[in-house]
Symmetry: D2
Subunit: 340 residues, 4 copies
């Protein structure tokens, strides 16, 4: 049994990691770090986990102790904090999977512009492998340092990759991405906006055209496909807890039939367990509480307009599920272990 | 007091008409028609209306009797049914407000193509005035026959009209409209898809690129602005009861500042009570249970991409509220009567 | 037009007062007090009210100015705060309607025990009339100082009063009241418990056997019926915004038929507009966004057990709606004014 | 690997069985029966299961074929139907777990009175073991025929059993049980009452005092404790999908401290993995999507009134989860297998 350390476990993604890893047959959680909750049992903070990890106690971060106690480190920390925990010892000796944005973007200045934060470890940026499992599996397999993708980013990258790789998109047009996320996507924030009475029976756009997941999508897809896209991206907040559905509007270079489009996606993802190409349209209900990524299509062939719909659970395929999938890839486990 | 007849009052829009009109100080409901429920008190079908209209009893349709008992006729009937009730007597002597799609589209063949239904009274198509109150008020005022707009259509037409009238849109690009509607938008249908367990905690697209509200938007805007747009329209179903929010992605002909855009909208709608131009982004919660239409903006000036957000209550400004607003205009009442 | 001042208007009940009073034809809001929001337009805090009260600006409390500007004062303040604003000038010259608990309980020590707060104006306790409109109308009519009932309290008092007045309850048994409230019942509190992700798809009891609405129910019913009940009261939190449903389990002294029970309720409330005695069971949907109080019954005649169900909108009949109804009674207006 | 047959798999409990059993490491689904859906892949009916059981095809019931293909038979059928599939061959050779009510009640006439249905196999009633795992484990272990308890029944029996076994309840008083269930409790019924627009933002009682789960609770507890209780039971419908919370009001024979009460429950359930005795109050969110049964308490010691709260997921501990737990007990597997 490999030993897993979860650094920063008081948010929603940390909690999902605990839920997944207590079910995982090949690893065990050897330490769980939350400076604010140190000394508490995990089930005191998360009563629904009682019975599943009763001996697990939040600890303060203690570098030396953890170096000896963990093989795999998940960092479920806010942006700007994860980077403080990474150093050569960890990068050389441990498997590191960072769920924050700190190492997703290779260009220091782009990170700093979007996250309004000085990057104190930009020398490690090149070492981090972007952890979109299905597209980057070959690199992930040989890496010990994963930058796990953002939730919205995952729901854009997976559907866009085959079209860009095959050069099918008319890049003179912006790609329009209208995304809708459940409230857990905002994390565990005590803010008036996230009160029940505010979001129940409500729906609204937020942060239009300026969301921070844009640069990781553009940069990663450029790296993998040599195509540079312009994104018009507007996220919206749904009155439900878990799930993202992105509706992606694409101008095609030339007229292609929907059948041909589906054939292409099938070449890329037909053998992927966690990517399901549907004959109908995806829904959030179809993927909530799972690590699946469901994709469906609509096409106006004459107008050369393709709409791709992509649904994921933001906390699983969009965060902790993909993080564990990355760990499974690196350690040579069945990729589904702990995730079904 | 003018006498109102509601023909077809067993659906959601009929029910909203009853709620509005029982509060209206200048009209009274003289008859309410539902062949399926004839003989029942209205409060038996709608217990929440008990106390508000206790003597109102559903009747079977009886043309002669109704001709003598009503001044204003609202038709809250399914598409294809409303048209059967319209004839010269009604058109000449009564005020007729049809909430169905039967008379919204002027071109018979376009109606028949989209609604898969033979139009048996196409000779009346030209007589019907499209009832978007704020844009078409001058014609409405002098009409006795209103085709009340569809709910999605309202949420598109109001925000698009100023841009098209001012010739600001680059018509080489499709206008992308990503709309989200509460479940009441589907009407009162007993269908597995609309069960609580299906839609609760769910979100999904439906009928992409082929929704029937497209032709009325394109035709009405062409008539009013001489511009013909191509629409890529995808509706989605929200896990809430009431409200529509449409996110509209527009390529501008040339670079315009967001301030200038707002100034233009202000010229068109600055004096309109029911259209609110917001400095922030609209939300469904802000308009639910009201007849307001809230509009907000985001703009990528360099890319010449404008996003306009429009929120309405689908049953009020998107149906029964606008229908009563049309009646108020025709009869010279305060437009807000019954609606605030 | 009488002039209304709302003191403390930044919570949910204050907001409902604004919504009701802007529609009221016989009064106008002359001042609205919120020390925290002074200087802001009301629509800045409540964007959904834009268009309805555009000139209304939150002010700091200024006793002298308000004494000259208001005829009716609503206090929508937290418990312990309202009492600070009451003095002889206000009690003698103005109509005062307090939505807090400060003057509901006549016994100073009981108030102080349950609210853990020293009562600084206990000399006024006897002057306040408990504002359950239907039961206490005669006293309300001649009063200038109303203690508006709590939301849960209303949902208990209305159904219990006829049974107690008629001496039908076996008082050797506790009355069991299992109440369920929407999240707005907790007010506008920024607390982890009220985050969307906590309450959505959730349901739980809270504060069992010790809720503060118990003493006002017991005391008021004793005063009106000379019977003293023991209450076992457990409130629960529902995953919806508005509404309370209380299920009340009563042991009857002797066997009575359900028809007889209904007849008795009809004697008490048959002519009350806002109390609806149903033949079926009440639901929250039937009363949400209305000032109605719906009552229904189930009875095990042999076991002499009666269950009475009572549903109200906690913000209307349970707070601001009843407050305005009280004002209407005092000023001799139609009781329904502003409330339908 | 043992072979499992699911008879009647088109409802919610059948679907949960599929989800649990595809994850179970010691059994596999060898056949899945749905006369209405025969020939369809399971994922066609349940798209969210795609990837998990792709070769599984609904079949028509074929007794001879199934006798040779299955070791364990789950009957997820409506009441009155299950009984038709049970015969001596199955009872002698197979493990049979019936999720319907057909064999829960030992007295034929009581079954027939409550279910308004002739029992065609009352000779088997005595053979069926009531499948409340924690209380009846010893009998279950040696049985091949389990009557799996109802969802509401489970949420009553587990909390009542220790009190009754210890003779702590004053049986002169009815036990009041106020239960609240998510909409999935009603099964997959196409009925106006279960439409999204009806239940969203709604809450209501239904079927008060007459729900069919009463007799199995009374009979089973009498059998196990020799005490006969009277139940006043009112179920209510919650606007959420999964979960039941029952609030149980009990008059104690004598004054007992809450600590003592907790000690007693700890004796009964302290070692049970799936029963969690909480220091705080249980919530539906704490048990949804799990097989846990959470119990919490409130006590008015002076009044000798105890309130016990019990929360379960109606589809898991309340149906399919407990059914699989029963199978695990019979086959000697780890009871948690497939259930965490």
């Amino acid at each position: 049994m490999e030993n897993v350390v979860i650094v920063g476990a008081s948010g929603y993604t940390g909690r999902e990691l605990v839920k997944i890893l207590t079910r995982h047959s090949k690893v065990k959680i050897s330490a769980i770090i939350s400076n604010n909750n140190s000394g508490k049992f995990v089930w005191e903070l998360y009563p629904d986990l009682k019975g599943l990890c009763d001996n697990l106690i939040f600890e303060k971060y203690d570098r030396m102790s953890l170096l000896s106690r963990g093989d795999i480190f998940f960092y479920a920390l806010p942006h700007g904090i994860s980077m403080k925990y990474i150093d050569d010892d960890f990068l050389n000796k441990k498997i590191n999977i960072d769920l924050s944005a700190d190492f997703r973007i290779k260009e220091k200045f782009i990170y700093e512009k979007w996250y309004k934060n000085v990057h104190i470890h930009s020398e490690y940026l090149e070492k981090a492998v972007f952890g979109q499992c299905e597209i980057n599996r070959a690199l992930i397999k040989n890496s010990k340092f994963i930058a796990n993708p953002g939730c919205y980013a995952t729901s854009m990258i997976v559907p866009l990759y085959p079209l860009m790789k095959e050069n099918l998109i008319d890049l003179d047009y912006d790609i329009i991405i209208d995304s809708k996320s459940g409230v857990s996507g905002a994390g565990k924030k005590l803010d008036n906006m996230y009160l029940f009475n505010e979001q129940n029976e409500n729906f609204l756009p937020y942060n239009p055209l300026g969301h921070r997941h844009i640069p990781e999508v553009v940069e990663f897809l450029k790296e993998k496909t040599d195509n540079k896209i312009s994104l018009t991206f507007v996220p919206h907040l749904l009155p439900l807890t878990r799930g993202i559905l992105s509706s992606i509007y694409i101008k095609l270079k030339e007229k292609i039939s929907l059948d041909k489009i589906k054939e292409i996606y099938n070449q890329y993802y037909g053998n992927e367990f966690f990517i399901r190409l549907l004959d109908k349209l995806p829904s959030i209900k179809g993927v909530a509480y799972t690590n699946f990524c469901d994709i469906g299509f609509a096409c106006n062939e004459d107008a050369k307009i393709l709409v791709v719909f992509c649904a994921i659970d933001n906390l699983l395929k969009g965060a902790s599920g993909q993080a564990v999938q990355n760990m499974n890839i690196i350690l040579g486990f069945d990729e589904k272990e702990g995730l079904i």
